[in-house]
């Protein structure tokens, strides 16, 4: 006898004005199955999940739930059917406790729920303290609350949207264990990701999407990473070539004893940060975000000006930067690519040409207070060509570009000025695989020209892929540097959870 699928989609189509987000998509999820939906950013995964969860209505196609055709008009309806979703960006209330957050979605008194939360925590290995406030929690804890909130609604199907993107490696292993336990209870799980190794480790079946269509339904255990990549992007992507260090290795930027207490009382204070960036090296700062990376990059870029005595020193090529503004630091060769592309890296409603002028106006763009429009335009055009930015030319607005293309443009804009030091925060966050590879290659090329580069990234694979030395940030403190070639990914993972000793001792053993 053939089992009835929990969820069956047939020919689901959704068109938006500019794109066909889903084109006749079929999907079957069995009870107790962990089903991967794999694809690049923009492949249509999110739209499909929104259709299943009822927040987007399809233009055509049918949805069957346990053998019966249904019309999921709203998230409320989806929840009634037994479909739960754990969002990539958490939807928790910071000022409330774990139990209060859960009580907003699950009926019952706080006391009742606390008991149920403790029981479910034990059953599925999800450590959550019902009475503690979300505000003080780590990303992993927040995710566990989201999952618990989902489980307590007793769903038959759980959609997990990129759940591992925010977790340190040890947290991922723990999450997988929980998901396997849920599946063994007969709950179907849709696992959205673009990380191939995770899908191979966890999932039974993978539906691969590209450009809004299903390009393959494969057995995740059988396929290898190469064949999945080829399916997912339709071509193979060369890993960035990573030659030995170049340049003379002299210290370009030296930071000593940097302290800073942010205004936000819940952001960690920077404690005695010391850091040396050397010519021809890429230094990577690993760590779960929210551990002080933001304050550190702002302090280096000059967005936070240090005032007090114990604020420490930032020295660029022997000269103290002191209270220099970001603009003054740029003219001295220290460039910064912030994490937020729209609003901080570029002005959304301005054209690419205008956005070019924001950071490059010292490069002969201004004459007697007048902007040389032709030259600015040419500079923007040059960046577009050099970085292969797909856009409508220098007059397209920044907000009209996709995330990956805008990021390529912003990185290219800074590269055009030949920086001595480049600080890039999450340079490939939310960028599709092709653009990410291109950006990483450009950063390596810049290193090979002798620049000193600092990358702040949550993606540990990225750090290992392109960095020469690695430091880990945890609660405002920075670990000592270790060599990327000899460090182990597990030790870096332990350091991300606060155990700097593991990293340093192992490193010492290698020497």
């Amino acid at each position: 006898m053939v089992e009835t699928p929990l969820l069956r989609l047939r020919g689901v189509t959704k068109a938006y004005p500019a794109v066909l987000a889903n084109d006749a998509v079929d999907l079957d999820v069995m009870p107790g199955e962990i089903h991967a939906v794999l694809g690049e950013n923009g492949a249509g995964k999110s739209t499909l999940m929104k259709i299943i969860y009822g927040s987007v209505r399809p233009d055509a196609g049918t949805v069957e739930w346990r053998g019966e055709q249904v019309d999921i008009q709203s998230p409320l309806k989806a929840r009634d059917l037994g479909i739960g979703m754990v969002f990539q960006h958490f939807s928790l209330f910071e000022t409330l406790t774990a139990a209060e957050n859960i009580s907003l979605a699950v009926p019952g008194t706080i006391a009742d729920l606390s008991t149920r939360i403790r029981a479910a925590s034990a059953q599925f290995g999800l450590d959550v303290e019902p009475d503690s406030r979300v505000q003080a929690m780590t990303v992993g804890e927040r995710q566990r609350i989201e999952i618990l909130r989902c489980i307590l609604q007793e769903p038959k199907l759980i959609i997990m949207d990129e759940p591992t993107s925010v977790l340190p490696p040890q947290g991922i292993a723990k999450l997988f264990e929980t998901l396997r336990r849920l599946a063994s209870e007969g709950i179907g799980i849709i696992f959205i990701s673009h990380k191939l190794d995770e899908i191979k480790a966890l999932c039974d079946t993978a539906t691969v999407m590209r450009g809004g269509r299903v390009v393959g339904v494969v057995d995740a255990k059988v396929e290898d990473a190469r064949s999945l990549t080829r399916l997912m992007i339709g071509r193979e992507i060369a890993a960035p070539s990573h030659s030995a260090e170049r340049g003379d290795g002299h210290a370009v930027l030296e930071v000593a004893g940097l302290n800073h207490t942010p205004l936000d009382p819940f952001a960690p204070a920077l404690k005695d940060i010391s850091l040396t960036l050397r010519s021809g090296q890429i230094t990577g700062i690993a760590g779960v975000s929210g551990n002080g990376q933001d304050a550190l990059t702002r302090a280096l870029a000059g967005e936070i000006v240090q005032g007090s005595q114990d604020a420490g020193t930032i020295v660029l090529e022997g000269a103290e930067l002191g209270a220099d503004t970001p603009d003054q630091r740029r003219t001295k060769g220290l460039h910064f690519v912030p994490e937020e592309r729209l609003g901080r890296g570029a002005v959304p409603i301005h054209t690419l040409s205008e956005n070019t002028g924001l950071t490059t106006h010292h490069a002969g763009l201004v004459n007697w207070g007048m902007v040389k429009l032709g030259k600015r335009r040419a500079l923007a055009q040059g960046t577009i060509e050099a970085m292969d930015v797909r856009c409508g030319g220098p007059d397209a607005t920044a907000q009209s570009l996709s995330g990956g293309n805008l990021q390529k443009f912003i990185v290219g804009r800074e590269l055009a000025l030949r920086p001595k030091v480049l600080i890039a925060s999450q340079p490939t966050w939310g960028v599709d695989v092709g653009a990410a590879a291109a950006i990483r290659q450009k950063l390596i090329d810049l290193r090979d020209e002798g620049a000193a580069i600092l990358i702040v990234s949550e993606e540990i694979e990225e750090i290992f892929e392109i960095c020469d030395t690695i430091q880990v940030m945890f609660r405002g403190q920075l670990s000592p540097p270790v060599q990327a070639q000899t460090a182990s990914i597990d030790d870096v993972g332990l350091a991300m959870a606060g155990d700097f000793d593991a990293l340093v001792l192992r490193e010492a053993a290698h020497v």
Binding site: S91, F93, T95, L96, P265
Partner: protein, 305 residues
């Protein structure tokens, strides 16, 4: 001793209008809606309450009429900001000005008239206790109701599911909407409650505290209410404390005049406003506390479909 009795019993009465309006504004702001029209809503309530009491002779009718009109006025604000996504600041100011105009239109032919004044509630033996009885138990019913309102507001906001929902919506209406909470309905309810309480507060001014109608008699108390909620860091006891501080300062003004001290009366009239704001500004400096209690979405345009 007489002076102390005068100040304590007077403070309770002087703070009552503020307590009503401030508890209402606190609830509205906790749900994430800033209502800057409180001054106008209090004024409208004052005029409406006065006219209704004059015509019917019943205080119940007066307070109900004031509450209904204040509520209706605030629901205009709710519709503009929640349905038409108007800016909360602009809408609140506009409705406030509308309220002031409405109050003078309603009270036009009653200018300078008086009503009997709300009688003291006789609490029997309690009222007869020397000193204590004179301080606390020779007040009108609205004074006791305002104290009950403080406890009720505190209880609902911190101890009930409704309060949890209000706080959640005030922090993130988008997340609340995603959970299926009725964001617009709850917010409209909170704003409407705020308007009704402002109306009652206004009516208390014109029919009980100084039982006469004069245009402009609210004299900035609505603005003090807005300041109280913010400087009281959205915590019920702190906001109530601020209201009583303001009340006691305005009593001090009267007592000092009674002593015959030669301080310019203009300086004395400013005193309650200045002292209250400085005092609350000093106690509200703890950033962690503010972040925990302030409704994060306050003043922001609603971004849900």
């Amino acid at each position: 001793m007489d002076v102390l009795v005068f100040i304590v019993s007077g403070t309770l009465a002087a703070a009552t209008a503020l307590i009503f309006a401030a508890m209402g504004e606190l609830v509205a702001e906790k749900s994430g809606v800033l209502n800057l029209g409180i001054e106008g809503m209090m004024a409208t309530g004052a005029a409406m309450g006065f006219v209704a009491v004059s015509l019917s002779g019943s205080y119940t009718v007066g307070f109900v009429a004031a509450a209904v009109l204040g509520c209706l006025l605030s629901l205009v604000h709710a519709v503009l900001t929640l349905v038409f996504r108007a800016d909360q600041t602009a809408s609140g100011l506009a409705i406030g000005i509308l309220g002031l105009g409405l109050s003078s239109a309603i009270g036009k032919s009653y200018e300078g008239r008086t009503v009997a004044g709300l009688p003291e509630l006789n609490l029997g033996p309690l009222s007869d206790i020397p000193v204590i009885g004179e301080m606390f138990f020779q007040q009108d019913i609205m004074v006791y109701l305002s104290i009950a309102l403080i406890f009720a507001t505190w209880y609902v906001l911190t101890r009930t599911k409704l309060g949890l929902v209000i706080r959640a919506i005030g922090e993130s209406p988008e997340n609340a909407h995603a959970l299926g909470l009725k964001v617009r309905l709850i917010r409209a309810g909170c704003v409407g409650f705020g308007g009704a309480m402002a109306g009652i507060g206004g009516a208390y001014m014109s029919t009980a505290y100084t039982p006469l109608w004069a245009e402009g008699m609210i004299a900035g108390r609505g603005w003090i209410v807005v300041a109280l909620t913010v400087f009281g860091t959205w915590i019920v006891p702190r906001v109530a404390f601020g209201a009583y501080l303001f009340g006691s300062m305005s009593l001090l003004e009267l007592s000092i005049q009674a002593f015959g001290w030669n301080i310019p009366s203009q300086a004395m009239s400013v005193l309650p406003y200045v002292v209250t704001i400085i005092m609350l500004a000093v106690i509200s400096r703890n950033l962690a506390f503010i972040r925990l209690n302030s409704p994060a979405s306050l003043g922001a345009v609603l971004k849900i479909s």
